[in-house]
Symmetry: C2
Subunit: 436 residues, 2 copies
């Protein structure tokens, strides 16, 4: 179904439409904050996007921004902060009772950069347990009127739901396997996972340090670029997505697990991109890329085991069975096996760079998830279409494409070259526009 959204209230507007009006002070930070607060208060009970939300604190930040000079690109933009990311003024509880009530001493780097650019913290959004297994309370906003509730995906569950429900235009997530791209896909919003290592993780709970990547979710690709520029302190220039682009169509070795709606989204995206002038060519993965999903699982289990060693030792009773099992699985991975996987990953990174060059492509078009969000809240879905790209450290963007049989969103993923994050976003914007 085409987009029949009528954006009337300020909370419904994407960042790139708010930006000029906030910068010109035609819209105050308080006006926008009130619209976001009203939407949040109206729907938080049924969606459960937040662990900590304090309207008075949001208003105070907005008033301070309105009273002072323009701070930067995000002036007045309310941002959801995933609850594994430290904030000095609000608890950071990592989705676990182990950290109930924990309030850090200072902001994570990404939060500090957001505030420096004029963004305000809307609240702490629900994460799965340690951004890993163990779903939170959040419901996919697209399933509120469906027969059953569906998961918003995870681990960045609350941010995805809050952005989709227009409680905020923008929010932080993190991805170790598929924790930004998958919830973005399930909630029908744009998700962006930058190249590994570009954005500081200081003040973010570690899970798998060679994989953990800061990312963000929003409702337009342009908004992802605005956040990217704000985080790096770059001057913002709107994306020029005219192309022409050459795109590699990549089903990956796990294509058999994609459901019909995901296949339809891939086909729809390919057709729309071709009609918009892109050349879409087959792009097949070669060894060692074909084994990376297994390598990723092994590495992640090993690293989670180390990252959460203290918590496991002292509070295993406060962990879900799923998390305990993963930590224990990590215990069985030998150092040699882990090092072998690290080496394979490094070889795979060389190989994907070679394939990109050989095919002469700007980006890969690949599924973002197996299909619509699964029913119920007992799982946040399978990251099988995300592990590979996370391990490769490549920038990834989720773009919504269509509604599936249950009426929930299904999208595609664009994957770019290492450290070519802005270029990847131009292709994602081209994809988004191809449906216009």
């Amino acid at each position: 179904m085409p987009d029949t959204t009528t954006m009337l209230d300020l909370n419904e507007l994407p960042v790139h439409m708010l930006l000029p009006r906030l910068q010109a002070r035609e819209v105050s930070a308080r006006d926008l904050a009130e619209a976001c607060i009203a939407r949040t208060e109206a729907h938080e009970a049924e969606i459960g996007a937040w662990t900590t939300f304090d309207a008075a604190a949001v208003r105070a930040q907005a008033d301070e921004l309105d009273a002072g000079p323009l701070r930067g690109l995000l002036h007045g933009i309310p941002v959801a902060v995933k609850d594994i990311i430290d904030t000095a003024d609000l608890p950071t509880q990592c989705g676990t009772p182990i950290y109930a009530g924990r309030t850090p001493e200072q902001d994570a780097d990404c939060v500090a950069r957001t505030r420096a650019a004029g963004g305000l913290v809307m609240g702490k959004s629900v994460t799965t347990e340690f951004a890993c297994v163990g779903p939170g309370k959040t419901v996919n906003p697209h399933s509120l009127h469906a027969k059953e509730v569906h998961t918003p995906g995870g681990s960045s569950s609350g941010t995805a739901a809050a952005v989709a429900a227009c409680m905020v235009p923008l929010g932080f997530g993190t991805q170790t396997a598929g924790s930004v791209i998958r919830p973005a896909a399930f909630c029908g919003v744009v998700g962006f996972k930058p190249t590994f290592g570009v954005h500081s993780l200081a003040g973010v709970q570690p899970l798998g340090p060679t994989l953990d990547t800061l990312g963000w979710l929003c409702r337009a690709v342009e908004d992802a670029e605005i956040m990217r520029a704000a985080q790096l302190g770059e001057a913002y220039k709107p994306l020029d997505a005219d192309g022409p682009y050459r795109i590699g169509y990549c089903e990956t070795p796990d294509w058999h697990s994609a459901r019909g709606a995901a296949a339809r989204a891939m086909d729809t995206a390919r057709t729309a991109m071709e009609r918009a002038g892109a050349k879409v060519v087959p792009f097949d993965l070669t060894p060692p890329l074909t084994h990376l999903v297994e390598d990723h699982k092994l590495m992640m289990a090993y690293e989670v085991n180390r990252s959460l060693a203290d918590e496991y030792r002292d509070h295993a009773d406060l962990m879900t069975d799923g998390l305990r099992a993963l930590i224990e699985e990590g215990e069985t991975v030998s150092d040699a096996a882990y090092k072998k996987a690290l080496k394979a990953a490094e070889a795979a990174r060389q190989e994907i760079a070679r394939l990109f060059d050989e095919a002469g492509i700007d980006a890969i078009l690949t599924p973002s998830a197996r299909g619509e969000a699964p029913e119920g809240l007992s799982t946040t879905g399978d990251p099988v279409f995300n592990r590979l790209w996370t391990l490769l450290k490549l920038p990834c963007a989720a773009v919504p494409v269509l509604d599936g049989p249950a009426g929930l969103p299904v999208g595609v993923q664009l994957v770019g070259k290492l450290n070519r994050d802005r270029e990847l976003l131009t292709v994602a914007k081209f994809t988004e526009q191809a449906f216009c």
Copy 2:
């Protein structure tokens, strides 16, 4: 851009999603009315969809419905009533100062049928002057955050804007040239103009009696079928839109006046329908069909001249220049010329039936408007892609397809066989679903 709408509030839901919950009394008429009232009160100042809106009267109707037995298919559905359609409890002013304050003695047939089916009158929606020229105050809801405001189209301006802005899920319009399909296209909603003569016009201000047709606007094709069943007292059966369908792709002789976005919408619709399994074949109009737009203009001028003769005689000073010019143009049309056009129209109706049969098609795919809504409120746009089909008496449906360069909606029109209104809606639903 794909549909990223998250429907959370009751006023955002289409009729077919509300219906089971209203019928099961899980949602009360008052609940839904309050959501629609809240949306209306929040945005009426900037959109101007209503000439008469009385929240207390809406609440009273809702409470009466909640206190009594289920009345029918529309139980609890708030409906916008174009202000050329009589209502016993609210003024009906036809968009002209000539009828300022006029309150009819009884409901128009369509309003009575709506109330009998449990629908409630949300208010009287803005019409152009006598549903003809002379735009009203209404602003296209999609242009509120654009650089300039754009027309919602007309003459059913207020209904289209109110439905698009989620103030109501459903509303009445009427079409003599393009007054249902064009505003639906401009506002990105579904518009349905049934076969001429099927639905009573008793209590509706006449404009061109051989052309005037009752229609309605909503946000899903299924909703148009629900209203059709409710108006005719038929049992409602959900549309089965599985096909297979054979569709005639028809640019019409006025294709040269279509802008790029309309051409892109046609191409996108064709591709999506083909991918969904339809066979789309070229469908060209033959004489006398190629001359019908001119015939329609002549007939409409002649009929408007007769319909508004008294008003012109007594109150020409209260008419806009545009309306006076049309009435005066009608004065110059000879009876012979009018009769010749009537005859040509009759021949054209035979010819289109023959072409439908010859091509073996279920419906025609054709533009709904020249492109996005024009900027400003001085015109409601050109009905050049609607006159033909109105004159042919055929059922027509507008379906949104994409957003144009200014960010406003652009759609396509499906045209069905005479008196095959439900069948046409199945094709429209197939079209709508082809984008999923």
